[in-house]
């Protein structure tokens, strides 16, 4: 049985790790050198954030599991990331739009979490918020460039939006586990930043000449460990070395 604080910290860690891995898949495949570097840098930020959260999760659990144990030796159903971040990387429009939707949420979220009563979460959040500011700015600029670009770039962006939108609802979900932490001043209620998130999205979409889909049915499950088959494929790639050669080090 996991304590609420452990579950919550793992959710934050798993989001960062899985998204970081998706971004890292672009390394060497970016549409141009500058963008290749940018995607790799954003991947590095996310993986660094994941390391901080995993290290803390291991300490909360108190069973001696390290950041590596938590990243490399848990199975799919133990992961608590939202489904948005495990979607396959798609084309560049898809990757950039996902990063934008995520960063537009995570930037204000971590800003508020940096006032958490849990000092360690507050410290990690304060570090993370600065990085998310860059992810937000960079991805927003690309969303505008693609949307207001060629017919093809606009079409691909609009298509990516239709694919991604049903996965945005999960960012705002709160369950009993998290409700208790919110009341204790440890976690932060994401409902509070929904207006701000929508405002950021609408302002950037207006410049990108694309429109936001209506709020229909939203996908859910990742935060409870119910994942798509895509996470399994991702973990097979991510965890292969440690599974094949347990305890191997560089």
């Amino acid at each position: 049985m996991q304590t609420p604080l452990l579950t919550y910290t793992l959710r934050l860690a798993d989001n960062a790790l899985v998204l970081g891995h998706r971004l890292s898949e672009w390394c060497g495949h970016g549409p141009m050198l500058e963008e290749d570097l940018a995607l790799a840098n954003m991947a590095l930020d996310c993986i660094g954030q994941a390391r901080n959260f995993y290290t803390y999760a291991g300490e909360i659990e108190g069973k001696g599991r390290s950041e590596d144990d938590l990243a490399y030796l848990r199975d799919c159903d133990a992961f608590r990331n939202i489904l948005l971040v495990e979607r396959p990387r798609g084309d560049f429009a898809f990757t950039i739009l996902r990063q934008f939707l995520y960063a537009a949420f995570m930037h204000p979220y971590f800003e508020r979490l940096s006032a958490s009563k849990d000092e360690r979460l507050a410290a990690i959040a304060a570090k993370t918020v600065k990085e998310m500011a860059y992810h937000l700015r960079h991805s927003a600029e690309w969303v505008i460039r693609l949307g207001d670009g060629t017919e093809e770039s606009a079409a691909r962006l609009q298509e990516a939006l239709a694919d991604l939108w049903p996965f945005t609802g999960e960012m705002f979900e709160v369950d009993e586990t998290e409700r208790a932490l919110i009341e204790a001043g440890v976690a932060f209620d994401p409902a509070g930043i929904r207006p701000l998130w929508l405002d950021t999205v609408d302002r950037v979409f207006a410049d990108a000449l694309i429109s936001r889909p209506g709020d229909g049915w939203m996908q859910t499950g990742g935060r409870r460990g119910e994942h798509s088959e895509h996470l399994g494929h991702l973990l097979a790639d991510l965890q292969f070395m440690q599974r094949a050669y347990p305890g191997s080090t560089w």
């Binding site: 570097l37 930020d45 990085e131």
Partner: protein, 171 residues
């Protein structure tokens, strides 16, 4: 032998020596800067018998931190400290405001534009910075990419002298 001498050393002199040793360590990615210039060196203190050096990462995923920890440890060992400890601290979060003026000057001389202005909150988010070229000083510059050769740098280009340059981001 040396260790015995140092144990009798007054505490503040020990700490001063430890600080000098730790402060001599350079950033592996920006080798003209010491970790003191960067503001990565946060504290040098006693932890029981050991000398403890506290450092903070610039970015969460900064791959240089392991190397810096190792080099601080080696520098302390070389200075004769048998009992030593290097601690990583996340809070308060590192900011470019901690970079020393001497550090900024060294960066410029090295060809990297130092961070401009002070790290601020949301205001900086969508703002456009004006970064003078570290080569010719011209203000006629443009950003090529938000992300450069390392997480802490962005890629810029000078329209006057046509040279590309790294800009140390303000965070």
């Amino acid at each position: 032998m040396a260790g015995i001498v140092y144990l009798r050393e007054p505490v503040d002199e020990r700490l001063t020596r430890a600080r000098i040793a730790a402060a001599s360590v350079c950033d592996p990615e920006v080798p003209v800067l010491t970790i003191e210039d960067l503001g990565v060196l946060r504290d040098v203190r006693l932890a029981g018998e050991a000398v403890e050096v506290v450092i903070t990462p610039t970015y969460s995923g900064c791959p240089a931190m392991d190397m810096i920890s190792l080099q601080v440890d080696l520098a302390l060992e070389k200075a004769g400290f048998a009992a030593r400890k290097v601690t990583l601290s996340l809070s308060p979060a590192w900011t470019t405001d901690w970079m020393t003026e001497a550090g900024k000057e060294k960066l410029r001389a090295y060809g990297i534009a130092p961070p401009v202005g002070r790290a601020k909150g949301r205001g900086a988010l969508f703002g456009v910075d004006e970064i003078p070229c570290p080569h010719c000083g011209s203000a006629e510059t443009e950003r090529v990419s938000e992300f450069g050769s390392t997480a802490c740098k962005a890629l810029w280009r000078c329209r006057a002298c046509r040279e590309p340059f790294d800009y140390f981001k303000c965070i």
